[in-house]
């Protein structure tokens, strides 16, 4: 039915110990990012996307997600980090943010990781793919470095151009 997109996982009470939050980690180009798991609705393959006329190249189009029209953004194109190929391994993360549903295409999804506040370090002035204003911090996990993204801020930004009042959370 068409209700699932609004019953966000953010309703779930986080019962982890010691201020830990869970992050979904994914790869985009050479870097690994983490986003708040509570904003993730589901993960799917890339399939049957209908292009929107006269839209930016990173906006691939829309899909039918069980009866709801959901726009799909290819982050690889948006941030120019990797070759955007579409095959059976292509993965789309469906997000539920600011009462809207949107899907993002990334290179691959890794896992769900709990991180406590003391594992998160402040962001130095990087010149990485993503503007640092959307980065909440960095986290180290054994050999991995995770860039923690404020995915909601990023997706609702004027720069993404997804929503009419971009930059203003509804």
């Amino acid at each position: 039915m068409a209700q699932t997109e609004n019953t966000a996982p953010s309703q779930v009470i986080n019962t982890l110990v010691g201020n830990a939050r869970e992050y979904l980690t994914f790869k985009l180009g050479n870097e690994e990012y983490g986003i708040d798991i509570l904003k993730v609705q589901e993960i799917r393959g890339y399939d049957q996307v209908t292009p929107i006329a006269n839209s930016p190249s990173f906006l691939k189009g829309v899909i039918n997600l069980r009866g709801t029209i959901v726009p799909i953004i290819d982050m690889r194109i948006k941030f120019g980090v990797s070759k955007a190929e579409y095959d059976q391994f292509t993965v789309v993360i469906i997000l539920n943010i600011a009462h809207r549903v949107v899907g993002i295409v990334v290179d691959s999804v890794s896992d769900v990781t709990p991180l406590s506040a003391d594992q998160v370090r402040p962001t130095p002035e990087l010149s990485g793919a993503v503007d640092t204003s959307y980065i909440d911090g960095l986290a180290s996990l054994s050999e991995r470095m995770l860039i923690l993204l404020d995915i909601e801020k990023l997706m609702t930004s004027r720069d993404m151009g997804l929503y009419e009042n971009s930059g203003v959370l509804q």
Binding site: Q48, T50, A53, N54, I69, E164
Partner: protein, 681 residues
Amino acid sequence: MTPSTSNGPKDLGIDLSQFSEVFFEEANEHLASMEALLLAVGERPPTDEDLNAIFRAAHSIKGGAAMFGFQDVTELTHDLESVLDDVRKHALDLTPEMVEAFLVARDLTAQQLAQHRAGAGGAADAAEAQALRVRMRAFKAAGSAAVPAQPRVAAAPTPAPGSPAPVATAAVASPAPQAPGGGAESSYKRVVGHVIDGQPGATDADVRAVSEYAAGKAAEPPATRRGDYGLFEEALPGAAAPAVRAAPAAPAATGTVTAPAAAGSAAVAVATSAAAPAPAAAGAAKPAAAAAAGESSTIRVGVEKVDQLINMVGELVITQAMLQQRATDLDPVAFRGFVTAMSDLERNTRSLQQAVMSIRMLPMATVFNRFPRMVRDLAARLGKKVELKMVGEGTELDKGLIEKIVDPLTHLVRNSLDHGVETPERRLAAGKPATGVLTLSAYQQGGAIVIEVQDDGAGLNRERILEKARERGLAVSDGMPDQEVWALIFEAGFSTAAVVTDVSGRGVGMDVVKRNIGALNGSVEISSQGGRGTRMTVRLPLTLAIMDGMSIAVGDETYIIPLASIVESLQVNSSTIRQISNAGRVIQVRSEYLPVVSLREAFNIHSKVSEGSDLMMVIVESEGAKLALVVDELLGQNQVVVKSIEANYRKVPGVSAATIMGDGRVAFIVDVPGMIRMTRH
């Protein structure tokens, strides 16, 4: 929402708060019908039926309020009802001053109820309420002092077939009706109060007294009985109110009073003596209220339930379309039974969908009915005389749209009254009748609902608008066509009103109106003639969750054109399309020249397949204008479920919404009015 109780049903250990919402809803309906009736009374002498209806409305509210312990409401409506009772018994003459007071009392009651509903009961304007009650009692006192003279026999209401109405009112002319002995009256009140309103206190003795009294009444020869409610004019108010809702408004009934036998059936039986002069009052009451009082019963359903139902039917249509698609691949001979069943399914689904969509449709009257009062008050405040005409109130509109169109329409009406219609002096000087006419009309046109606000006032002042536009730095030229000049008033902050009133003139209105209507995918246009009047036309798409469309191929992609917008489709040779300097391309179809838009270009679709010289063209129409769309191929007619793009994205130019095809893919629906507008500019 716990009602503030002083005494009442809490003592009985019943928690009534779960029913309070229903009471508030019904009270609002009563208040609305009271207002409509009181306003109508201002225009023509009231019929007995009018007076009874007003009385019943007040009485019902009083009863319910008493049950919930809303003392302030009970007290006010009691005094109101008391005066109304004297009026309807013709013991008191109805004066315009009283009508005014009743309207004010009605308003205050509405406020009190709104406060209770919000949980903050009881203290609203206690002083004002007190003052009103004093006035009511004064009216009553003045009346009882006078001899109950000739009651005003209503200008003979159109007699219902076979009704003895004129006879009945003549019979009423005799002085004060026989009241039963005081004992029977109070017994009756108690019995009926218990049955109808759930009030405690009726005893067996009461029941006996009532039966005896009623038996006595039944024994009277029919000739002396009135043509109306029989028993209840004997100052026994209890029966009428809720029981009347059960009574069919059957015009043929004559004035027979059925003797109430036992207490249980008493109230209901009494009321089945239907009033003959019902039709005359029909015009005053809201159609919705009339429907509730009439033969058809209604059920209150939450909007969410209806929406859920509509969504489910939408999904059903999609599934049915998918099945249909699979079915076309089958051998029709080998699978004959299946194919037949599929076409049955399609028929049933279509009927179901139409029926479900119509649930949310409400008549425009629900929007229009607030205007008589508003126009009356506003005209009075502005010192103008205005007659309001309403046409096409039965035109139906989706409930969601109705709620959103009220504010913009209200602004348009206020604008007309404030700036359009002139004062009586100016009108007379201009050779017009002193009373201006404001017409609200609604009708369907193709796939849209058109709502018009028209006045016969002074019209828009072209020079003033141009001057104001120049002042604000807008690019205007003296030679601009009228249509464009009028459109200027939609610019933010624009107002040519010399004086800013609290009604309008602040210039924040028209741009908001345009934006609000635009948000509904509608449009608003103005036409005006100096000295003659102005007309504002609002067009709204009929909200269709399910729509008939023609799927077309544009390059490798599929788009849908709403079937309602299609005039015809034809094949043309590309040589017949002419280029007109900078104005775009046109094609001549029979005697008209139509602008041409290639959807491949509009949607920037590149396809390996080249267009060729034979082009497929679909001619569409909206708001009276036509457009020729070049497409690659006509794929077929489909019923599609309309899905919003804006819910998760934003408005896409050229596209009005999206849909899900039989194969699960998304296809976009071409925004025909939008495209036509784009070609105009």
